[in-house]
Point group: C2
Chain length 307, copies 2
């Protein structure tokens, strides 16, 4: 009986592996190192070896899903700079190891969104979007329970939505004013530090984490509050844009800083409510539930022909 499904979240440093029952219950999760030598040609073998040790018969596995750090178009990996893959037919390559079964791949941020839609904060909802606040800002969009990849694998690149028309900061992508330049965890730290310096306040050498700053704001710290107002203004704005484009049921906010709890989410929601287009005001802003496991959940869901 095909009672299991594997989800792989392939990153530049580690591959996260999740073994699930097809009902979505996580049986086991672990990580292996990503071997990026020789254009990443060993990665799939390493994954296969890692799961082979578990002693589960291939006949019991309904499918294998992958989230990868780069654009994917119709099952073909276009490019993953961190892995060394380019025009990589992952599905065929992995089939040469596990045989002719269900193998699916999509972009990791999109897959994380699917994970939250399957078993997380958007469980049971067909239309959602996810914004992940980390070093940068990632995103994914689900429409009618399917990942939106887009024509060139660039859908859900919400971090590169331009939100500041004038005097924007330079983004790694070469543009100025991207959401990523005004609303990541990194930005929360930078803004807070700048404001502290302006006020001649002392800071630890490394400064506090974004999550800590959110907690300071919750307790009423004025500089932390000012930081949060700025950041959540742009996040609320991005939510407005999403609400009139794909009109999701919920927009899930993820990333480590989201774990600071409802204070951040409520601030984003407040800013969203101020500018929401009335006919779509049922869109809700919610906190992610799966943390770093969203990727393995989403990858498994993808293999079950969701997404």
């Amino acid at each position: 009986m095909k009672q299991y499904v594997y989800g792989f979240d392939v990153g530049g440093t580690t591959v996260k592996i999740g073994l699930f029952k097809v009902d979505g219950s996580l049986q086991e999760k672990w990580e292996i190192k990503t071997n990026t030598t020789e254009y990443g040609k060993h990665i799939l073998n390493d994954i296969f070896n890692a799961i082979s040790k578990k002693g589960i018969s291939l006949d019991e596995i309904a499918g294998y899903g992958f989230g990868v750090p780069g654009p994917v178009i119709q099952g073909k990996v276009v490019k993953c700079v961190n892995l060394g893959w380019e025009d990589y037919d992952l599905e065929s390559e992995f089939a040469s190891l596990v045989g002719n079964t269900v193998i699916r791949v999509s972009n990791d941020a999109n897959v994380a969104a699917l994970g939250e839609a399957w078993m997380g904060a958007a469980r049971g909802l067909q239309n959602m979007a996810m914004i992940t606040l980390g070093t940068g800002v990632g995103g994914g969009i689900i429409v009618d329970s399917k990942i939106v990849d887009g024509a060139h694998g660039g859908a859900g690149e919400i971090g590169h939505m331009i939100v500041k028309h004038k005097d924007g900061f330079l983004c790694n992508c070469g543009n100025t004013g991207c959401l990523e330049t005004v609303a990541s965890a990194t930005v929360i730290k930078r803004l807070y530090t700048q404001l502290m310096i302006q006020e001649d306040k002392a800071l630890d050498e490394n400064g506090p984490s974004a999550k800590y700053i959110v907690n300071l704001a919750r307790k009423g710290d004025p500089i932390a509050l000012e930081t949060l107002e700025e950041v959540t203004y742009y996040l609320g704005y991005a939510c407005q844009v999403l609400s009139v484009t794909t009109n999701p049921d919920v927009i899930v906010i993820g990333g480590g800083v989201s774990k600071a709890g409802p204070f951040l989410i409520n601030k984003i929601d407040d800013n969203f409510r101020k500018i929401v287009f009335k006919p779509v005001n049922r869109t809700r802003i919610v906190q992610a539930q799966l943390g770093n496991d969203a990727g393995i959940y989403g990858a498994a869901s993808l293999a079950l022909n969701n997404g």
Copy 2:
């Protein structure tokens, strides 16, 4: 043989009717008046009577598609203020006239986008978006050849994407800074008129049309050019946002003013290129091809189980 399909574009004043072969060739089109009395209860009867006169056997008709001026969720019309419909089960109502066959309905702007995807400027492409410049600004988004309706029927409401953060004009929706307030045909006329008055230039009583203003700009008229720069800046911006959300192959610009030709489209494209996120820079901006017929084409396509 089911060789025909009907597309209906239901507006507040007229219903446009298109009779197509299933291969997409338009056989005949005509209009009837929309009878909005008694909460629009006669509209479907009037449509049925109009097509009955054509003498085509019901057995020859593969399906009936409708575009309606309001949000639709999973085949149910939520509300069409102009028609008097609210929570209207159009598909069941029309089935009581034509029997148990394929009947499909979606929002008219989304349906127009589908029309351009089926037989117009985005023919053969699975991922596209459409922006229609008229009195207001309409929009529709197609992902994997399907209309995106969204969780509450509000997807593709691109005219209500906020694009101006500060000092925005008040929109009919109650917000300020919506795309519709800075980029419709109406806005082109208003901006041009304002600039002419500032310069103490004479104007005809009604002022020139938006299309005429685009032509003036093409010929080098400085005030018309200034108008177009402002309007196409925001349209290029909206295209940037679309390119990183659903990442369409093409963005089709429609509405009467788009008929002024490549000058307007090129200006939008120029502004889009300045700020496009590199990985999605293959998204193209193109002119609509089906004019006012996009709605009947899209409705017919919807009935053929596309969209």
